[in-house]
Amino acid sequence: MSILVIAEHDNASLKGATLNTIAAAKAIGGDIDVLVAGADCGGAATAAAAAEGVSKVIKADDAAFANQLAENVALLVAELGKNYTHILAPATSNGKNIAPRAAALLDVQAISDIISVESADTFKRPVYAGNVIATVQSSDAIKVITVRGTAFDAVAAEGGSAAVEDAAGQDAGVSSFVGEELAKSDRPELTAAKIVISGGRGMQNGDNFEMLYKVADKLGAGVGASRAAVDAGFVPNDMQVGQTGKIVAPELYVAVGISGAIQHLAGMKDSKVIVAINKDEEAPIFQVADYGLVADLFDAVPELDGKL
């Protein structure tokens, strides 16, 4: 078997999700090549070559790949992918954008968001917002898969010494990059943070999230939110933890003023330790919490801040 992993990167460096995806590739078994498609992406390619278990890095350094436009990257993935039995991408917004497009170019039914590898053609994945886990088997010659990073322990970032090969790129000529607004924060990215503290509707407004930011900065934590808090406009959507937002599985997850809708639980219930702070004793979040504190968050959070 031979596996092509599509790297998640920002040209200069490799994103952690790539290492989780390589781990899923190792679980399938076989030679693992990593595709780094970008512009001036030498840094990311070097990092990919150092990752554990990688046989070869294919570096496609071309202006057409500067912003990971799916129209351009999918063409390359489909072209290279013909020589592999599996194509794996992280189930990030970028992976989800590119992998199905590449799959259809190869006439393959992709498999989204796998959480375990049962065999080379059989995988488990959540459906119905995580209420059901399905075991699915692909009959396609090439398997195109996106991988839920939190379900696979990352391989080591160092120690490998794979060869780096160049590949050419092309621009499909139908789309262009206009701009992006990335949230600037010194806090760790949600999906990579060891500790995540999230606020829900109980926070009442966006200003009150300051309380969580203060605690987060003491703990080196990322800050998330429930869909209710996002829909209410308290905080931006990229903070959303849940089935339609980010899936996180940190060492410690602190849910503040979050009732625990299934949609939210689907995004965080694999966390190692869960703490819930909610004044409603009946809130479903307490059913999954290791430590529950029934208290008014406006008393409890400042007190927590003081005790850390």
Binding site: S93, R101, F177, N237, Y291
Partner: protein, 249 residues
């Protein structure tokens, strides 16, 4: 501009779906069915483009059993002008849906196709991207803003860490994210009017599409249950437990 909107019939988002006891499939007999929430946002966006004068006609298309007509009628009540049902009782996977849509696109030649980013049953998040591959059209996935100007559509996308804006040549595919808009409620007069709007029916066979599944579901099961832990009395006890018992801070 003509807009094609794809809508899917799914189990209503309020229904908690469980596996059947024999683990062969999910138990959705008699469950309330609705239009997929992301598809509803797609219909709303198309209707807003028509109200702005950008779009002139909205065609709602669905695939699935005969009852999917209900979801097409819902789309019509929200403002779609006519409907197409690709009727089949077969299990449809995203690649098959994309192939059927491609066949419809070839007949209808829309300038834009708007669809949900994912359906809340299969949670695949694939069909829009696949239709893009099959038609060669560009894709603006996970859209939170759509602006048509000068023969292009600018789509602002929800990506990890923020927003990205791309310019797409028309015809193009847009898949909707939650914050694109808030769908309206259909008024009773519009629900009545929708019943008189034209709805054509075709089949995958008529469209020349092989919809045979490529992925087989071997088993379904409930997710691993997490046991509830303990209640702590106060913040001091919580900090103590986290430091000394769980050892996570």
């Amino acid at each position: 501009m003509k807009i094609l909107v794809a809508v899917k019939r799914v189990v209503d988002y309020n229904v908690k779906v469980r596996p059947k006891s024999d683990g062969t499939d999910v138990d959705i007999a008699n469950a309330k069915m609705s239009i997929n929430p992301f598809c509803e946002i797609a219909v709303e966006e198309a209707v807003r483009l028509k109200e702005k004068g950008t779009a002139t006609e909205i065609v709602a298309v669905s695939m699935g059993p005969k009852q999917s007509q209900e979801q097409i009628r819902t789309a019509m009540a929200l403002g779609a002008d006519r409907g197409i049902l690709v009727e089949t009782d077969a299990e449809l996977q995203p690649l098959a849906v994309a192939k059927c849509l491609k066949a419809i696109v070839e007949k209808e030649s829309p300038d834009m196709i708007i669809m949900g980013k994912q359906s809340i049953d299969g949670d695949n998040n694939q069909t829009g991207q696949m239709l893009g591959a099959l038609t060669g059209m560009p894709q603006g996935t996970f859209a939170s803003e759509v602006a048509v100007e000068d023969g292009k559509v600018n789509v602002t996308r929800e990506i990890d860490g923020g927003l990205q804006t791309v310019a797409l040549n028309l015809p193009a595919i847009v898949t909707t994210d939650l914050r694109l808009n808030e769908p309206r409620y259909a008024s009773l007069p519009n629900i009545m009017k929708a019943k008189k709007k034209p709805l054509d029916t075709t089949t995958p066979e008529d469209l020349g599409v092989d919809v045979a599944p490529r992925v087989q579901t071997l088993k379904v099961e409930p997710p691993a249950e997490r046991q509830a832990g303990i209640k702590v009395a106060d913040v001091a006890e919580l900090v103590d437990k986290l430091k000394n018992e769980a050892k996570v801070i």
